[in-house]
């Protein structure tokens, strides 16, 4: 049976402060399973710095450094240098939110990636600044209601962060989502093995209070994001692009579900007009044109 092929050890403890049905914790649990004990985690200000617990207990079974919002990649670079100076070996992981990655943390990350700093950077993308009460970020999709786009929803499309990281020519870039934990597990294992430079994984992590859906639907929504083509699962290993999981079958637009299937389950999209939905569908189709170019280059 499938569960029995994966490690039963847990490095993420129950009784933490995350919301019921949180897609970020669902993913983090599997990331830590894949990384194992000899790892150090760096977390900038985000939901995770809160839900892992404050004092005197923490929900995470490996050493964690909490650091200022913009500084995650810089702090991780320091840890990598210190480990090297002391002759010690450990996997260094940055676990940051979308705000901490695509907006405020991007310069530290870009610098570290350009210097080929030896760590794994994972962005868990809940598509807004959730910890401070759902403000729009560069990763918020078109049309989504947030507390800073309260009436029409956001008028701009989502920033494509994985493509920015591909442009850094690092050995491994991948996308994943909470609803496919085994795909995520495999990608984190792969990232762990590719030592010597920066590896980047971007995880779409549905957030029940922020996206306004019933907590039991986290996995369903995560899978619908993939099956409608709103979120594409792929990996770029040493420059080689490859679609993974259900995304492999979706190059043909006929195979993709209409985006409405994904949008209609979420309160943040409940106000959308027909034109808005068509705009999102066009955006998805444009994203897939870019993907098909990357596929055909191989």
């Amino acid at each position: 049976m499938s569960a029995q092929r994966y490690p039963l050890e847990e490095y993420f403890y129950p009784g933490n402060a995350s919301c019921p049905g949180c897609g970020a914790t669902m993913a983090l649990r599997w990331v830590l399973k894949a990384l194992g004990k000899k790892s150090i985690m760096v977390v900038p200000a985000c939901c995770t710095s809160v839900f892992m617990g404050l004092y005197p207990k923490s929900a995470i079974g490996i050493p964690v450094l909490n650091i200022a919002f913009a500084a995650a990649a810089a702090a991780a670079s320091g840890i990598v240098a210190a480990l090297k100076a002391r002759g010690k070996d450990a996997t260094v992981l940055v676990w940051a939110g979308d705000g901490g990655t695509v907006d405020i943390g991007i310069q530290a990350l870009s610098g570290a990636a350009e210097r080929q700093t030896d760590f794994i950077y994972i962005c868990y993308d809940n598509e807004a600044y959730m910890n401070t009460g759902i403000q729009r970020s560069g990763a918020t999709p078109y049309g989504a209601i947030t507390t800073t786009t309260p009436i029409l929803g956001k008028r701009e499309h989502k920033k494509n962060m994985p493509r920015i990281m591909i442009a850094h020519d690092i050995p491994y870039v991948a996308t994943a989502t909470s609803g496919y934990p085994h795909d995520l597990f495999r990608k984190v294992k792969k990232a762990k093995e590719k030592r010597g430079a920066t590896r980047y994984i971007h995880i779409l992590a549905p957030c029940p209070p922020g996206w306004r859906f019933d907590s039991k639907l986290t996995v369903k929504i995560s899978r619908l994001a993939v099956r409608t083509g709103m979120w594409v699962l792929y990996e770029v290993e040493d420059g080689k692009f490859r679609l993974t999981g259900p995304s492999k079958a979706l190059l043909d637009p006929e195979k993709r579900l209409p985006v409405e299937e994904y949008l209609k389950l979420q309160g943040r999209f409940s106000h959308l007009t027909r034109e808005d939905i068509e705009e999102i569908q066009r955006w998805v189709d444009r994203q897939w044109e870019l993907i098909s170019k990357m596929v055909s280059k191989e």
């Binding site: 029995q4 049905g21 207990k57």
Partner: protein
């Protein structure tokens, strides 16, 4: 809580820093948040581990022989396991239990 400050050698380099230790219950008994309770019907359960796979809280303990067991001290009642069980083996009950202090 009594705070003890010790003078370790490394403290000459780093000033005293708050340090938390890992363990369950960093937020207390989060089972108290629950409005509805998932209950496994072990006659229908095939021990596939899907509930364990998707539990965001790690509140389901899984063993190969005995299958899944829900830790109600911490289960927040998100009901992802109910949705994801392929054999429809988890049902939902209204939470009526009074938690002991």
């Amino acid at each position: 809580m009594k705070i003890v400050v010790k003078n370790y050698e490394w403290m000459k380099e780093i000033p005293p820093t708050p340090l938390s230790r890992p363990g369950p219950g960093s937020m207390g008994m989060t089972g108290r948040w629950r409005a509805e309770r998932p209950v496994i019907n072990y006659e229908k359960c095939k021990k596939c581990g899907m509930c364990w796979t998707y539990c965001p809280e790690n509140a389901i303990v899984f063993s190969k022989d005995e299958g899944p067991r829900i830790n109600y001290n911490y289960c927040k009642g998100c009901l992802v396991c109910v949705e994801e069980c392929p054999y429809d083996a988890i049902k939902v009950e209204r939470e009526v239990v009074e938690w002991e202090k």
